[in-house]
C-alpha cells in the first residue's frame, strides 16, 4: 500500500471527530444531570468544558485544511475530509446546546422543580442514541443506518410537542410557573436542535459513501 503517511493522517481526523463526539455526548448527559439534580458545580463545569470542545473543532479543522493543502485528496478521501469538516461544525453546535442547557440549569438551581422530569431526559436519551448510532454509521460507512437514524428525529419532535403543550398548560394554570416553564421549553428546544444536528450528520454519511448530498428528514421545527 502506498501513501501510508496520508492514510494515517486521514484516520487521525476521523478519530479526532469521534473523540469530539464523545465529549459532546458527555456534555449532553451531564447537562441533563445538572438540571435534574440542580447541581450548580456540574453546570459550571459543563460551561467551562465547552471551550475544550470548541478547541477540538478548530484543531480538527486545521488538520483537514492542511490535508487539503498538502495531500491533494481526491474522490472518497476528499469526501471524507469535507464530511469531517461539516460534522465537526455540527458537533460543536451540539456542544453549545448542551452548554445552553447547563446555563438554564444554573438559572433554575435555586427553585424547586416545576414537575418531575420524564420527557426531557427521554428526549436527551434519544438524541444521544442517535448521535452514537450516526458515529457508528460513519465509522462503518453505512448509509442505510444513517437514513434510519434520521427517522428517529420524529420521536424527538413528538416529545417536544408533548413537553411544550404540557408546559403551556402549567403557565395557564398559574402565572408563577411562567418563568420555570419558559426555561424548560428552552431546554427542550436545545434538545430538539441537537437531534436536528444529528440528521445533518446522517446526510454527511450518505454523502461520504454515495457522493451525493441528499436532504433526509426535514424537521418540523
Amino acid at each position: 500500500m502506498t501513501r501510508t503517511a496520508f492514510e494515517r493522517q486521514l484516520s487521525e481526523i476521523q478519530e479526532d471527530m469521534l473523540v469530539m463526539a464523545g465529549m459532546v455526548e458527555s456534555a449532553i448527559e451531564r447537562s441533563i444531570e445538572a438540571l435534574k439534580s440542580r447541581d450548580v458545580e456540574l453546570a459550571r463545569q459543563i460551561i467551562a468544558d465547552d471551550i475544550k470542545i470548541n478547541r477540538k473543532r478548530y484543531e480538527t479543522e486545521e488538520k483537514c485544511l492542511e490535508l487539503i493543502a498538502t495531500q491533494q485528496p481526491l474522490a472518497s478521501d476528499l469526501r471524507t475530509i469535507v464530511a469531517v469538516l461539516h460534522i465537526t461544525v455540527d458537533l460543536e453546535r451540539m456542544g453549545d446546546h448542551a452548554e445552553g442547557i447547563a446555563k438554564i440549569a444554573l438559572m433554575m438551581a435555586d427553585e424547586p422543580p416545576l414537575k418531575p422530569y420524564i420527557d426531557i431526559p427521554r428526549m436527551a436519551q434519544i438524541a444521544i442514541e442517535m448521535m452514537v448510532d450516526v458515529m457508528e454509521a460513519f465509522k462503518h460507512r453505512d448509509p442505510a443506518s444513517a437514513r434510519a437514524i434520521c427517522n428517529r428525529d420524529d420521536e424527538v419532535d413528538a416529545l417536544y410537542d408533548q413537553v411544550y403543550g404540557e408546559l403551556v398548560t402549567y403557565m395557564i394554570q398559574d402565572p408563577r410557573n411562567i418563568e420555570r416553564a419558559t426555561h424548560l421549553t428552552w431546554v427542550a428546544h436545545n434538545l430538539e436542535r441537537i437531534a436536528d444536528r444529528v440528521t445533518n450528520i446522517c446526510e454527511r454519511v450518505v454523502y461520504l459513501v454515495e457522493g451525493r448530498i441528499e436532504e433526509l428528514n426535514v424537521s418540523k421545527y
Binding site: R3, S11, Q72
Partner: protein, 282 residues
C-alpha cells in the same frame, strides 16, 4: 457510548504525538547542515544570493521554486557536487556538523560519502543489482559482510522483496521506479548521514513516485533528507519543511521563504510564495 467506537490507535497516537513534539523541540537545535550567507557564481553570473538554510535532522526539507531559480545549484552546494564545474565559485559557509565543507583541507570525496545524492534520472551502473549496491561499499574499502550490507541497504530502500531472487541480474532490467530505489539503496550502502535528492521522481510514473515518497518518509527514522522538486504538490505531500526560491531581477536565486510545510502551503508569509503556490506567478 462513543468511547466504544474509539480504538487503541487513539491512545497510541496521543502518546506518539508527545514523542513527536519532543522530537520537534530537539530538532530546533539539531541541524545537520546549515548554509550561512551562501553566494554562488558561475563565472560572472551570480546564481545564488545570500542563502541561509537549516536542514533538520531526521526530517525532509524540500526546495521548491520556478525553473532556473537555483534549486539544483543550491542542493549541489550541500555536498560539493558543483566543484566539478570550472567556473563555479562560492562564498559564505556550508556547515555540516558545524564544519564548513568548503574550507581548505576538507576532502570533497569524504563529504560526498557522508552526504549522499540521488539524481533526477535513475543511473544504475550496467552491472548486477548486487554489484550496484556493493560498489560504493567496495570503493570505500569495506571488506567481508558485503552480503549483509547489500541486503540491509535494499531493505531500507524497500526493494529487497522485489529483487531478492534476482540479485545477480542486470540492474537495467528493473523498472524505472525500481532503478531509482536501487540508486537510493546504493547511496544508503555507504551509510551517509544526509541524503540529497535532486528531482528524484521526475522520470517516474505516479505510483512509483508515491512509493519513493513513502520510502523517504521511512528513511527519516535515520536520515535527514533534502529534496529539490519542481513538483510543488510533491513537496507539500512529503516535506516537513519547505524552502521557496525565486529569481531576482538579475536572475540570481534567492530564498524568499522557509518554514514548516504546513505553514508555507496554508498560510505563507510572503505574497510571492502565495502567488507561486497558487499558480499566479512563475
Amino acid at each position: 457510548m462513543i468511547e466504544q467506537l474509539l480504538t487503541d490507535v487513539v491512545r497510541e497516537r496521543q502518546m506518539s504525538q508527545t514523542i513527536e513534539r519532543q522530537a520537534a523541540a530537539a530538532d530546533a537545535l539539531d541541524r545537520v547542515i546549515e548554509t550561512r550567507g551562501l553566494n554562488v557564481w558561475y563565472g560572472d553570473f551570480q546564481a545564488l544570493r545570500d542563502i541561509n538554510l537549516g536542514v533538520a535532522a531526521r526530517r525532509i526539507s524540500a526546495i521548491i521554486g520556478p525553473s532556473g531559480c537555483g534549486k539544483s545549484t543550491l542542493i549541489r552546494c550541500l555536498n560539493r557536487m558543483n566543484d566539478l564545474i570550472p567556473s563555479f565559485r562560492a562564498e559564505g559557509e556550508v556547515l555540516f556538523e558545524e564544519q564548513n565543507i568548503y574550507e581548505r583541507g576538507i576532502d570533497p570525496v569524504e563529504v560526498r560519502r557522508r552526504i549522499g545524492m540521488v539524481f533526477q534520472k535513475p543511473n544504475p551502473f550496467p552491472k548486477s543489482i548486487y554489484e550496484n549496491v556493493a560498489f560504493g561499499a567496495r570503493v570505500n574499502g569495506y571488506v567481508g559482510r558485503l552480503n549483509e550490507i547489500v541486503e540491509r541497504a535494499l531493505r531500507q530502500a524497500a526493494l529487497w522483496d522485489e529483487v531478492k531472487d534476482k540479485l545477480h541480474k542486470n540492474a537495467l532490467t528493473l523498472s524505472g521506479g525500481q532503478q531509482q530505489r536501487l540508486c537510493i539503496a546504493r547511496a544508503l550502502a555507504i551509510e551517509p548521514e544526509v541524503i540529497l535528492m535532486d528531482e528524484p521522481c521526475s522520470a517516474l510514473d505516479p505510483v512509483a513516485t508515491l512509493k519513493i515518497e513513502d520510502l523517504m518518509r521511512e528513511l527519516t527514522e535515520r536520515y535527514a533528507i533534502v529534496i529539490v522538486t519542481h513538483n510543488m504538490q510533491q513537496a507539500a505531500r512529503v516535506a516537513d519543511f519547505s524552502a521557496v526560491m525565486m529569481m531576482a531581477e538579475d536572475r540570481a536565486g534567492e530564498m524568499i521563504e522557509y518554514g514548516p510545510t504546513r505553514e508555507v502551503f496554508t498560510n505563507p508569509k510572503e505574497k510571492r510564495t502565495e502567488d507561486y503556490i497558487t499558480g499566479r506567478f512563475g
